[in-house]
């Protein structure tokens, strides 16, 4: 693969990641705003009238809404964080030198971010189960997500070792 192809590939991926990041951020913000208005409406116990939008019909309970908002917040933050880290990795790829120690750290951070979103799912489900009587708590393990976390941790170690070997090769005269 030539440097040019690699760079154009990195450029395309960067655009894709940036689009995903902004879409997630904007949609997340809209959902959080809507949820926030609903929350204020619920807490005040009165209908909120925002011109064309009228919030008064609550078809979900307060704990469900709070849990949902917390979940959305964590997922949006994690996706934006992962995208930012991916962009940094892609920037090193575009420069033609992705085997830097920082990329191993970035991969570890991405794995931790995904793990946190999964752990938050369990925390929210458990808290909901404890706080609200009669709530049906369903704890499912997302094997794909945990497999990605494991794969990313392994890749990060591979990167770390690769970087060390490359440095050694650099210092071999």
């Amino acid at each position: 693969m030539t440097g040019k192809t690699r760079n154009s590939m990195a450029a395309i991926m960067t655009i894709l990641v940036t689009v995903v990041m902004w879409m997630t951020a904007v949609i997340g913000l809209i959902v959080l705003l809507a949820g926030g208005i609903e929350l204020v409406s619920m807490l005040s116990g009165s209908a909120i009238n925002l011109g064309a939008i009228k919030v008064d019909d609550h078809d979900i309970t307060l704990p469900e809404l709070v849990a949902g908002l917390a979940g959305v917040l964590v997922v949006v933050a994690a996706v934006v964080f992962v995208c930012l880290e991916l962009r940094r990795i892609l920037a090193t790829l575009a420069e033609g030198d992705p085997f830097v120690p920082e990329n191993a750290v970035r991969l570890t951070r991405i794995a931790i971010a995904i793990a946190i979103t999964q752990l938050m799912r369990y925390v929210i489900a458990i808290v909901m189960g404890l706080a609200v009587h009669g709530t049906h708590v369903e704890l499912s393990v997302d094997l794909i997500a945990w497999a990605s976390v494991a794969a990313l941790f392994i890749l990060s170690q591979v990167f770390r070792e690769g970087t060390r070997l490359r440095d050694e090769e650099k210092m071999t005269i």
């Binding site: 210092m171 071999t172 005269i173």
Partner: protein, 79 residues
């Protein structure tokens, strides 16, 4: 490092500059400097061969094993 590079001594004996040696063996001046200052982590047989050929010496003239240095390295590692 327990292996020390004594390239500077050999160069001095031969009255040869590092630049001239780099041109002769086809190794960049930067890499030869890394080797000379003992920062290199390894040396290829091909490089060693070229150096010995151009300097008219044996590998043992360029590289020496310093057992005292090894002792201090072990002490540092133990600490």
């Amino acid at each position: 490092m327990t292996i020390r590079v004594t390239l500077d001594r050999v160069l001095l004996d031969r009255r040869m500059s590092l630049t001239e040696l780099s041109e002769r063996v086809g190794v960049t001046l930067a890499n030869l400097s890394i080797l000379k200052t003992g920062k290199a982590k390894a040396i290829r047989f091909s490089t060693l061969e070229a150096l010995c050929r151009e300097l008219g010496c044996q590998p043992g003239d360029i590289l020496i094993f310093d057992s005292e240095d090894e002792g201090s390295a072990k002490r540092v590692a133990a600490e």
